[in-house]
Symmetry: C2
Subunit: 400 residues, 2 copies
Amino acid sequence: MTQRLAGAPSSARQSTVRTTNLGLVLRTVCAASGPLSRADVAAVTGVTRATAARLVDELVAGGLLDEVEREVLPRRGRPATPLVPGARFAALGLQADAGLLAARVVDLRGRVVAERVAPGDLRGSDPAATMATLGALTADVLAGLPADLCLVGAGLALPGVVDAEAGVLLRAPNLGWSDLSPAGLLAPFVPAGLDVVPGNEADLAARTVAEEAPGQAGPYRDFVYLSGQIGIGGAVVLGGRVTGSSGWAGEVGHVCVDPDGPPCSCGSTGCLELYAGRHALLRAAGLPLDAPPGDLVRLAAAGEPAAVAALGTGAWALGVALAGVVNVVGIPTVVLGGHLAELADLLRPALEEHLASRVLSARWRRPRVVSVPGPPAAGASGAALQALDGVLADPARLLG
Amino acid sequence: MTQRLAGAPSSARQSTVRTTNLGLVLRTVCAASGPLSRADVAAVTGVTRATAARLVDELVAGGLLDEVEREVLPRRGRPATPLVPGARFAALGLQADAGLLAARVVDLRGRVVAERVAPGDLRGSDPAATMATLGALTADVLAGLPADLCLVGAGLALPGVVDAEAGVLLRAPNLGWSDLSPAGLLAPFVPAGLDVVPGNEADLAARTVAEEAPGQAGPYRDFVYLSGQIGIGGAVVLGGRVTGSSGWAGEVGHVCVDPDGPPCSCGSTGCLELYAGRHALLRAAGLPLDAPPGDLVRLAAAGEPAAVAALGTGAWALGVALAGVVNVVGIPTVVLGGHLAELADLLRPALEEHLASRVLSARWRRPRVVSVPGPPAAGASGAALQALDGVLADPARLLG
DNA sequence: GATCTTTTGTTCTGTCTCGAAACATAAGGC
DNA sequence: GCCTTATGTTTCGAGACAGAACAAAAGATC
């Protein structure tokens, strides 16, 4: 089986074999938890040592793999040459959210090479001004990079509906932006030829759960992801891949929880966000809307009635909405991210109970709710990972 | 690009090229609306005529392609040899639903070679007895097949939660069955070695929309499918492929439409099925539960208040549930199948309006509701198509 | 009716890539 | 110092496709 190379079917030839196997070797090294030798690569991929060596040599020559110093470990036989993903290649991940701006550079090993995160309230801000600020942040980050680092792509996580192919943010309710083409606004700040691909924040944050470093599987591979920012975004991950219509999807926050509920700014009624969004929870708990996330946790843990009730309502609403999602996509694992991750321990018991009673297949696969701490601005990391995906899918492109 | 061959990555070798290209050629011929010549195959796939001819020759020798008589069409040049998918290969599709049993044999050209459909009320029936009846139906169908027909697989569409890998029906609420392994019960009636793979009815019926004949794209490739049987099943189709956790998914009928609604037999409250299921609609319209589907259409078209109200409620409930699905998966096309297809014209105006107001991305991609008539027991056809998929994915397997 | 043109299908050679097996290398073990 | 073991390299052969020339079968033209 050749690895999936999505898109229009086209014929295979000898060079396809090479391309496929180069990708396979690179992904194998990336997926491994530690350095691999050429012989390890041969064993894992199933090619002969001769072939593995040929492929590795080519990737090393192109900088996609690095040979590192051998650890002195006492073992018989000729010592192996440890291989790791090349440090020369990296991607730029950006994020603009209602609460922060972030620019981060992640290399093929998954290391953060450089980053800048700037909190701030960007609700209702001017898109052009904000993009300029983000651009300055980006320029700052890029200026500090090693000269030999090769940026292979860039992405921008945005909290809204994005048409990734057209590169357009269609609508971001919590920012108050719509019909925006961010690549153009950022162009003055990034190297020429590096185009910034926008993507949905939840989709991209979900990637960081499915994939901890480029090609390296995370703890969960099939799950429904909920990204609690000001709003609530979501993503469905199947086999480690975010599914859905690329950026159009994931508006879990606007799933209807109660058709008789209050009207939402989106035009519908009783949306999940009105019960479990950050502002809804804080308001119900009697806290100011700019209260730090930990406050609600502390109040609820202390048994403060309004806070407990707020979380109860939130868990109920999440239960109704997520049960619908689980019934439709059939994945019983829910991963909470963003501010919902901090509330996970308090939400879990009630939420799991709601899910168990509303999900048809619960008897066989009981839904479970987990959380991942994740870095701040996970969307930026996800955007970088997505850009690096192209390298893993077809490294031959970079070998000229 | 080689076609997706899902599963664990493994290395490519020369034989992979051959396997990939054999599949590509077969799929190309299947996807074409009319017969192709070797030269056409070369042009479409991008291989040289020499290679296309070699591949075609091998497929013809194996019976996967047939050379047919040339139509006398006046054209210059050496006359081409028209190629069509081989008629020797076919698959068996079965369906057991609350309202019918069906056995159907579909060949690689998508033609129904033989079928038997038996209506009947199977709610609460004994699984073993019903499977025996289906088995007899199947044996009957198989007995009438041409001797040289080669059955490459078999599938069984069931209205419930199925674990396809284990081959187990976990729960079918409307049949009243659970924890059933149908393959064993059917084994006496089918040829040895042909194992019957169970699948979710809605998933399989959705296939018939995405794929009209093996490898031949249907009118829609990205849509949310709703299968109105006694219950309401659903499937999400992306790029022509049913997504979701294979048989666990698609329980749209049990998406919560109103958490304060009446209790459902599934344990939840206010499920879609309680408002838009066949029985719910008939009851609300004041019709007997076994009324033929057309009755409701006639009454509503005539303006009978109870019938109009029933459809209004149904459209509202479908709107709430489907808006949630569309918000999560981002696909704005909804295809109605089963009994909902017959009601589509009456439901569409209200349903599309509900969707437009509750779907966040409606402003850019207005949700539309369409219907496909489809054959009775579409699930059976889908099951056969799924079995034939294996042939298209890897025809080399059948070439010895 | 003979010849030209056009399109299809076939044959041949060269190139690419991998597998298999022998060989070379660099260590530890005795 | 020699044996064992594991890694990495070299050599040869086989399979598959590309490209180009060739053969075949028709219509078009004079």
